[in-house]
Symmetry: C2
Subunit: 238 residues, 2 copies
DNA sequence: TTTATACTACTTGTATACAAGTATACTTAT
DNA sequence: ATAAGTATACTTGTATACAAGTAGTATAAA
């Protein structure tokens, strides 16, 4: 088994099943395991040096995220297309605009303070060129916003979306921290704008900030580059 | 083990894990298993006469739906509160309004035809006082709308929501077919209005039809009644 | 009576075993 | 050479076994 794509430190207390799920997700989204590949529970168990039980758990999770398809014989890798990424953004936009409408009716002081903290963390991460830490804080930023309205089913939707988003952002940021380090300033600025929008309850500014993120196709390009990079060194997964 | 709440005929090709998940979900949402109860994998396996494996699968599914909470020792039943049901409607409204915006930009002829068919089925179900069939068609109606825009991640959100919705609607309709059979006319009319809104692309009418559904708290009352009914005959699940 | 320790009866997560089903390849008969 | 049937090497779903850990209880000591 080759080295891991998912940060080991994020898995400190995770079960074997979780580890397999996270690592497999990264390999699929990065393109290291190509779309169309048929995964076998037994082969995966051998690859990861675990039994079939945790592998089965992992495959169920990945199937619910639609990056694999469970069929009669074997799990077929689907992966993430550009359209998928667009769709993820659709849903994120959908969720976050809903959340914003709730937020503006609440006391937002604590939230703004919390988000400011996360933003500072992101700045430090950029300073030390730590793509993984940056990704973590980026995801946390949006999760903090979403969870602030205390809506069980919206949180649920986020939980379903999060793992794929996280992997995708991780890969994208790792790529970008090599190619476009100065681009992170723009991302940081965008997040600052988001905080301002929440603070002032300015719906327009919030939408603008969101779209500025979403219209930025850079991340898609990053992922594509990353996939090219990966598939070069891929072992033929017959 | 007492008799089943979930229609057996809907489980013809389902695995043992699916059966357990569906039945357990019904018992939890109906209140037959009360909130706070701690479920044990071994006890459940014995109750359903299966091994722990399918029970584990089922518990994972129910946990992702947030009707139970997986803890260190045992799975704690959470159940559905009135707020949860309100939240489900929030999300359904969110999804369906998004879907509608896409639909009005498409050719809607086939969709309208398909929906009309489902609506006729619903009418027959009412005629024969078949609450289960009615529920099935009702869920199918909304699923047909949502899947028509061919959006993977929106479909995913629906898939995550569907099982709980389905159970909830089933219980509510079974209650209502006893108490308020004439009320089904109003529901049918509402669905007809929905189809019209799609056909004409009339956003306002669609929103109206949606709200008419959502503002109707009857379903919540039905569920509550159903729960009262159930908890009377509940065996103390120490 | 209170505190500490050890024991019992649970729990989960993982590994392994087995039954039933399916696709591929290889016979064998025509 | 081709078609039909059969063997085999896979697959999944379920059952069972085992290790590690946790709550609660009972017993022992102060």
């Amino acid at each position: 088994m080759s080295d891991l794509l998912y940060p080991i430190k994020w898995l400190s207390k995770a079960s074997a099943g979780d580890r397999v799920a996270h690592e497999l997700r990264m390999r699929i989204i990065s393109g290291k395991i190509e779309s169309g590949t048929v995964l076998s529970e037994n082969k995966l168990a051998a690859d990861f040096s675990v039994s079939r039980s945790p592998v089965r758990d992992a495959l169920k999770v990945l199937a619910s995220e639609r990056i694999i398809r469970l069929e009669r014989m074997g799990a077929v890798v689907v992966g993430l297309s550009k359209q998928d990424i667009q769709e993820i953004y659709d849903v994120r936009l959908l969720i976050e605009t809903f959340v914003f409408e709730r937020i503006v009716k609440m006391d937002r002081k604590d939230l703004v303070r919390e988000l400011s903290k996360v933003l500072e963390m992101m700045k430090i991460a950029v300073k030390y060129k730590d793509a993984d830490e940056f990704s973590y804080q980026d995801v946390l930023f949006h999760e903090t916003i979403i969870r602030s309205i205390d809506h069980g089913y919206v949180s649920m939707m986020w939980q379903n979306l999060k793992p794929v988003m996280e992997s995708f952002i991780l890969l994208s940021m790792r790529q970008r921290i090599e190619d476009d380090i100065e681009d992170f300033d723009r991302i940081l600025e965008n997040h600052a704008l988001y905080i301002e929008a929440i603070e002032t309850g300015d719906r327009k500014r919030m939408i603008a900030s969101l779209h500025q993120n979403f219209d930025d196709v850079q991340e898609v390009e990053d992922l594509w580059k990353s996939q090219q990079l990966m598939t070069k060194g891929v072992e033929p997964h017959d």
